[in-house]
């Protein structure tokens, strides 16, 4: 088995494990490259028929291209798409002027509302350990309490593919089937599998997005990489980190930690 097949097999095992153990689960789709790859792995795990909903948290600040892309593929792949929005906060006009407040209201709160409404027991997320220091601390199966808090000091042990699969009533579990992938792995796999990816990642007029989220908080990087091969080549030579264009990582050294302990994805 080659390297990419090994990564794939491990992820599929975890996805199937999550569905078997919790049944009432959903996958969080941000329309970015990682969660689109996770979506692809879910399709593979269930032979094209994903038996649970796909959840998109719409902050109202997303790139318009993302919404169009989402709807097109939701239809094409026969997804059960649920869109979660914190309508109250959007109406109140919360804006990225205060980033912690904005992310918390429009992403974290919106997600909490959606989980409560649908009573999901577990959520599949496409985060990776190499993205950010704090994400390296994650488990494959990671419990969160009612308030979404992450007790990273007291995480359950994981060994030999045995995970935290039993839960108390007040817990939900975040499942991270792609924790062991790297940014380059993602692109090489996208290439191998020919996974459709939103064009924002490919260079236009000398700029491309390396990581996407809400439009006001994403800066494109200077790049001529307009094909997957060129992106892979670029990643092999760059010494700038992946999320350097993401405002919420920059605000202060501990912003990401605060966000995550508040339940941010």
């Amino acid at each position: 088995m080659d390297h990419l097949s090994e990564l794939e097999s491990k992820s599929i095992y975890i996805i199937r494990e999550a569905y078997k153990q919790f049944h009432n689960i959903a996958m969080l789709w941000s329309i970015g490259k990682d969660s689109t790859t996770l979506l692809w792995l879910c399709r593979k795990a269930f032979f094209g028929k994903i038996p649970f909903p796909i959840l998109h948290i719409d902050t109202g600040y997303k790139f318009p291209e993302m919404i169009k892309w989402r709807d097109e593929y939701a239809k094409k792949w026969g997804l059960n798409l649920i869109v979660g929005r914190n309508e109250e906060a959007i109406k109140a006009g919360i804006s990225p002027k205060n980033k912690l407040e904005c992310c918390t209201a429009l992403k974290t709160e919106a997600l909490k509302q959606t989980i409560t409404k649908h009573k999901f027991k577990a959520l599949l997320l496409g985060i990776r350990r190499d993205e950010h220091g704090i994400r390296a601390k994650e488990r494959y199966f990671s419990p969160r309490d009612l308030e979404f808090r992450w007790d990273y000091k007291n995480q359950p042990p994981e060994l030999w593919d045995q995970y935290k699969t039993k839960q108390d009533d007040e817990e939900h579990i975040r499942v991270h089937p792609m924790l062991h992938w790297t940014e380059i792995d993602i692109w090489e796999y996208i290439k191998k599998e020919k996974i459709p990816i939103i064009p924002l990642y490919f260079a236009k007029d000398g700029k491309r997005y390396r990581s996407i989220g809400c439009k006001p908080c994403c800066l494109p990087i200077n790049s001529k990489a307009d094909t997957i091969d060129k992106i892979i080549q670029e990643l092999k030579t760059t010494s700038i980190s992946e999320r350097s264009g993401r405002a919420q990582d920059k605000e202060s050294a501990y912003m990401m930690q605060k966000l995550r302990s508040l339940g941010y994805m």
């Binding site: 094209g48 350990r129 390296a136 995480q155 501990y254 930690q257």
Partner: protein, 416 residues
């Protein structure tokens, strides 16, 4: 950055007593292999300056605020670097006694280990306990680094003294290191470059040693073991999904489904948008079978001809307890082995062992506490399908679960 000839990735764990320099060694490996994004390095440097400290390589991993303030690694972190030969993922495991479960979590996912010892302090409690865990997890590729040689004036006699002390302990575990290297992690001595401060050391650097190791081989050359994870009904086909733990499964194979020893044939191998004819060790696949039989999660498939796993309700195992919650022999406990899950009782704790000193605390014990190892006989309520850990580790190891969480890890030494 360098070109990578071998795309395969090797994972390594760095273990050792608290403050012996694990995080610093990792930071240094990243720095010396040019694997550190510039902005990350700057961020860490600025944070150190803000805290009024000199640049600490360890902070690169200790990315949590509290850890920076207390100066200890709480959890297992993973980070990547590469040499000319291949990619590495390093797992940093915490040295504190309370964090043993995190250390096991990290080390159970790796191919090789570096055990770090402070040249000045010498071998300590966690040095030994971590060595024991490496042995239990079946890790055979081991490098010992004797760190902080600058604190002992780069003396060869001190290096040899610490080295022999540790080797004597490892000998009792029947664990032999492949290399022993004197280093200064914070200055980079013998990490990527040979140290000019220790001309008496003629061996390889840490990176050179790592490059000699092999990625763990999957069990494709062994007999077939396929653990059923779930059964799906898709387009009127009943697909048994799971992972091939060992061997190869092919279309047309005559198979036995354990524990009930039902005989049938593989009708097809199933993967989305593919038409495979076989699945090999490590692969997540689906299969359909010839006969309409009742199959459920936890069943194990092997070939009709050739060696088979044992179906038994009694096993002998070495169990490492990793919970604050003390175990009492009268309690029922859940045993999870691959996809099997059964209720069990511990019939006998023949020995209770301190995992650091390897001292026998008690024979015929009634209890087992955190960080202790029990040599025990386990009786399961229903039969389980197992192999010896030394033959097929995937079916020879298990965890105990209690109160919704994992409390122990065990390896099967004898199938009764």
């Amino acid at each position: 950055m360098k070109t990578i000839q071998e795309e395969k990735r090797m994972s390594i764990v760095i273990v050792g007593h608290v403050d012996h320099g694990k995080s610093t060694l990792i930071g240094r490996l990243l720095y010396d292999t040019n694997s550190l994004p510039r902005d990350k390095f700057e961020e860490v440097k600025e944070t150190c300056e803000a805290l009024g400290r000199e640049m600490e390589f360890g902070f690169i991993l200790d990315h949590l605020q509290e850890e920076r303030e207390q100066g200890i690694t709480i959890d297992t972190a993973q980070i990547f670097f590469n040499t000319e030969k291949r990619n590495y993922v390093i797992i940093d495991a915490p040295g504190h006694r309370e964090f043993i479960k995190n250390m096991i979590t990290g080390a159970s996912q790796t191919d090789a280990a570096i055990l770090i010892v402070d040249a000045n302090e010498g071998v300590k409690e966690q040095t030994k306990r971590h060595a024991y865990i490496l042995k239990m997890l079946g890790l055979k590729q081991l490098i010992i680094v004797i760190n902080k040689m600058d604190l002992v004036n780069y003396r060869k006699d001190r290096f040899i003294e610490v080295k022999e002390d540790l080797l004597n302990f490892l000998l009792r575990l029947n664990l032999g290191p492949s290399f022993t290297i004197p280093i200064v992690a914070k200055n980079g001595d013998n990490i990527a470059k040979k140290s000019e401060n220790m001309p008496w050391y003629k061996g390889k650097t840490v990176l050179e040693c790592l490059d000699t190791f092999q990625s763990m081989r999957k069990n494709s050359d062994k007999s077939l073991r396929f653990s059923i994870q779930d059964v799906y009904k898709i387009n009127n086909k009943r697909i048994l999904v799971g992972r091939v733990e060992a061997g190869v499964i092919k279309k047309g194979d005559e198979i036995l489904i354990l524990p009930k020893k039902k005989k049938t044939k593989v009708k097809s191998i199933e993967k989305f948008l593919e038409n495979p004819i076989q699945g090999e060790a490590g692969e997540s696949i689906g299969i359909t079978i010839q006969d309409s039989l009742f199959i459920e999660r936890g069943n194990v498939i092997c070939k009709e001809v050739g060696d088979k796993p044992k179906v038994t309700d009694k096993i002998k195992a070495n169990v490492f307890w990793i919970s604050d919650r003390e175990f009492n022999i009268n309690e029922r406990i859940t045993l999870k082995l691959a996809t099997q899950e059964v209720s069990a009782k511990v019939e006998k704790i023949e020995k209770r062992i301190d995992s650091s000193t390897l001292k026998e605390i008690e024979t015929n014990a009634k209890n087992l506490k955190n960080n202790e190892v029990g040599v025990m006989v386990v009786k399961t309520l229903k039969p389980v399908v197992v192999d010896n850990f030394n033959y097929i580790p995937e079916l020879g190891r298990f965890v105990f679960e209690k109160d919704n969480g994992i409390v122990a890890g065990g390896i099967i030494t004898e199938e009764k």
